[in-house]
Symmetry: D2
Subunit: 352 residues, 4 copies
């Protein structure tokens, strides 16, 4: 029983199996393996993007930072939500990879940027003033840091604003699969059809050991990306083990199946929490991550039972401090885990 | 049958098994897993360095670049052999990670730097001239790029020169295990006892899927290294899968057992090549990588049989162009593979 | 008649004269000139800091960026006001020089940071979380971007908060002389006695052709600063011409005399504007830069007369758009210029 | 009497006069002054390049580094002579400005690169190997670091090799005027007609206080250069003082007149040295800088007389250590200074 993070979850058995498949004998190194060829084709199919360039790296920070560096100049602005992972959780990775681009932070409820906020920010930006950083990239995150899900239409509306200022658009899709399942959009609708130029398509949080794909819809950016990846130490020698994981993930839409369980368990957990006396949602549950406040005794019981949670203090609805938690379900979460947890934090003897 | 590179070889079965062991259930992310604790202790034991800081990354370029950046300032010189991997095969990784340090290249036979060459280079370097790059780091590679092995005494002699100019010493040990087996030195003798400050202890070329350890003998450098690793996207979320590989590698000295086979097959291959009419060694065979020239028909037969080799053209001993090849044996190489290969390139009907 | 910027103003005649003095014959290059020796001693006297390291550069961006890079690591936060020149007017200079530090923006009236705002920001910052950027530097600006002046006590209160989180403090003193004159503090009281570690002491906006001094109160930082300066192309070969300007500026406290006129004219201009019907101050006038709104016909007359101004649109006190302007007086501004300008924008036939 | 460096020499009186001319009243800042407009037109005329973009900076390191960064990617190679100022005297400036490009050093007599050496180096460079740094820029220096002068034809032959590998060409012209005078080529012949893309056209070593022009023959590079200049703190606020110096330099070909004297005095000094018993030239005198060895007593007399020289030890023609010196003449050098110096070092009572 664990709701701390989807990065604490194991890898799916098919992923480990796939490693055995590619472990027999010699394979070309550095991405020239046959499995990577198949991965490229499968991702192009998945995204309906026959020209897309596809690369694998081991971490989300690498995927995001390399994608951003390929699109942003050192003197440019990367517009993102003020809680974006690229600003708040990567120890300055984007600044390092871009050579000093500036992250310009935008407010917005539930981790979402609103087109009007972006539009207003870009409106005050002079175009040819050498003293100012220049327009660079818009970076969006779906599922957001606060568990909300952008619809494809919302992404498209934001990309429209961006494009009207010549900004390319990056999508941090660490939980892309969960966003696809939650939104009902196709991968193409959520990305290039909406105006996204490059997407970090995450695997690590959804059942892989540690693989993220970067999909660049403009193949002219491919060579620069490859050089940046190598130079940053992110071109893995025995690349076949990354390819194999991703191939398993793509086969029979395993990525979707796993995200469906994570999201379904998220909804089930939300339903359970909703039934707990005094519990309330700080942000709406829309995929596999939620933020919920409940009474202190319930928190104490969770801690006593050593259930990993992302606990924190917020201002309660009565203006006093209250304890809340970020809760994340994942591909391996079971209904019995959820039941057990809801029972644990619910008031004993309550109506539940 | 493949002698192209040890990065084309599979992972050892015990390494894949270890992944299964850590795949059950939830583990803390980002290196806080129990397996990493054991790895740290085992590496400290292996190196007789109870204070050492130990970190895992996915690639050799990352291990080297992060280690160098922790010791070199942006305005400093990194002294290395003119064929060093850090200069010639990492697409400028060290320059990227250090923020622009300069690699100063030293000549030397068989990929080895001589103390006299280093000494002479450092002697002409002014100490407090603001126009010049400043002294930074000495970086050595063992096994060298040309297959030679430094003894611990040779490393020590070079480190003495470096230390007399206040240079810390980095050891690129992508093939550290092979160097240990070939030299007979202990890991401690080859590193901190000889004056090495930080070592990249490779695993990927010797039976792991993709893990390199960085061992910093000065724990005061640990926190900076951690920040640099995170910022560069090299802190893996589901770190347990790196830990597990390394734990398997360290258990029962698997690293040594695998390097012993690679080196033994190297010696056996060298013996076989030595018996081929007209073959000669461009560089001495000392571990698991060798450079050997032989007659063109033999090369043609190898190519016709699709045996992956690192072929290249050199000036033959008669002054005319001749074909040579880099040949690498690995943990999985068998005597029958070697026999088959030597038979293939030897003149048919020759005395062999 | 010109109130656009103090950078549009000429150099003081004594400054040009000083160039002639050092123009006779040969002088050692790169800062080894005798004039620089005198400058160092005079600045140490002026700041009552006999150990301080003193360097000259040609621009404020260089002074600020080099100072910040000497104190901030690439992975650290530089806390500053959200309108700070280092964030808004240097095209990412601090990010470039630091190798990617992140500017963390703090709100505050009139360009001032409040200790409580800084304190709150620092309070939520975890200390040893490798995912987050680390604490770096506090950078303050005096005179602020909006014309306000910090007292020495205010600087001290901010530095106290910074120091309690181990943050060194940088002072952007592009208009340091004006701040000294306005506040009545001594240079020492405004800097190291208040907790400032490094100050950019501006000359270009106050009568020099283009020289800024960087004063580092900790001489242990000197050598790194020198290397960074050289590497950035900011060590001028014929340095004597920078030294000579600064020597003239320091002699007989010319810097103070010039700032006194600039500030006095600022006060006189403010008085004049205050008498204009409908005019009101967006930010208080405290030194030589002010922000004032007045009626459109007055703005139209200023434009028709080609008086350079920093005009912009704000929300008026009645909620409707209104025109305002940034007005800067300088060492060479005369009362007749001010009179002429106030007459120009005042309503014809008004009571003035 | 001083032969240490042309950076020790004063500025020409007309240069100081020009400062007075632009010191009257208000001028737009940051390069928008009318004097800069004239400078741009005059440099376009001088180079017969009506589309060229022209910028001024304060130092040669800035001029070179900004020019190189505009043409080289972070992962690319900058080919230059092994004694090039950009490698040996700028404390890693090009690495800093480019974000980590690698300087690849080429040997060659008298500071000159030979087309055959460049060609051979480029021939072994694989084109699309992601592990290797990519081709970036060829940077040449004229006058070379050892006092030799490339003819326009020699530059052209080198640029041809570069262009056949898609390398743009940078010319470090810190002593461009001296090279023009010595070679008899026109500025156009020495630059774009020969295949040079960007030139650092020096002023500081030839009578200015501290101004270098960067001339980009491709105006499409202009905006990037401007952003890089600002970001690096090299856009001077009171730019008129740079413009005025350069305008004086260009007016009536003052640059040429000054270089003519420097070179003529160089030739006269060489003639004088040639008459000294036992003196010999380490490198040929071709412009205003020469390297000459003579007997120790002569060196002792120079030192006793406090004549600044760049003295160093070389292997004499008899295989023993001998003292030599770098000697630089400049725009202000007089024949009497030269006579006095030659008399000083010549053997007393010698035939001279």
């Amino acid at each position: 029983m664990n709701f701390a993070s989807d990065t604490w979850a194991p890898a799916h058995p098919k992923v480990l199996e796939a490693l055995h498949t590619v472990n027999a004998g010699y394979f070309p190194a550095y991405g020239d393996d046959a499995s990577m060829e198949r991965v490229t084709e499968m991702i192009r199919d998945m995204f309906e993007a026959p020209q897309a360039a596809v690369y694998l790296v081991s971490t989300g920070t690498a995927a995001n930072s390399l994608a951003l560096a390929t699109y942003a100049m050192p003197w440019s602005a990367i517009y993102c939500h003020e809680l974006a992972h690229i600003d708040d959780d990567e120890c300055g990775g984007p600044e390092f990879f871009t050579g000093g681009a500036k992250l310009v932070l935008l407010p917005g409820k539930h981790g979402k940027v609103l087109p009007s906020v972006l539009s207003e920010k870009l409106a005050v930006k002079p175009r040819r003033d050498v003293h100012k950083i220049q327009n660079g990239v818009l970076s969006l995150t779906n599922v957001t840091e606060l568990g909300a899900v952008y619809s494809a239409a919302e992404i498209s509306a934001l990309a429209d604003v961006a494009k009207s200022h010549d900004l390319p658009v990056h999508l941090d899709g660490a939980r892309f699969s969960n966003a696809i399942v939650a939104s009902g959009a196709t991968p193409a609708e959520m990305t290039w059809k909406a105006g996204v130029d490059v997407v970090s398509f995450g695997g690590s949080k959804n059942g892989l050991m540690g693989v993220e794909a970067v999909v660049l819809f403009d193949p002219d950016k491919a060579w620069e990306f490859e050089l940046r990846r190598k130079r940053a130490g992110h071109l893995v020698a025995k690349h076949r083990y990354l390819s194999a994981q991703m191939e398993a993930y793509l086969s029979n839409n395993l990525w979707r199946e796993l995200a469906e369980n994570a999201n379904a368990q998220g909804a089930y957990l939300a339903k359970g929490l909703g039934s707990v006396d005094g519990a309330w949602f700080v942000h709406p549950q829309e995929a596999n991550m939620m933020f919920c406040a409940w009474d202190r005794p319930g928190h104490d019981r969770a801690r006593a039972a050593n259930v990993p949670l992302g606990s924190y203090t917020i201002e309660g609805r009565d203006g006093r401090d209250q304890m809340a938690a970020r809760l994340v379900t994942n591909w391996s979460t079971t209904t019995s885990e959820v039941d057990q947890f809801v029972d644990l934090i619910a008031q004993p003897g309550s109506a539940r």
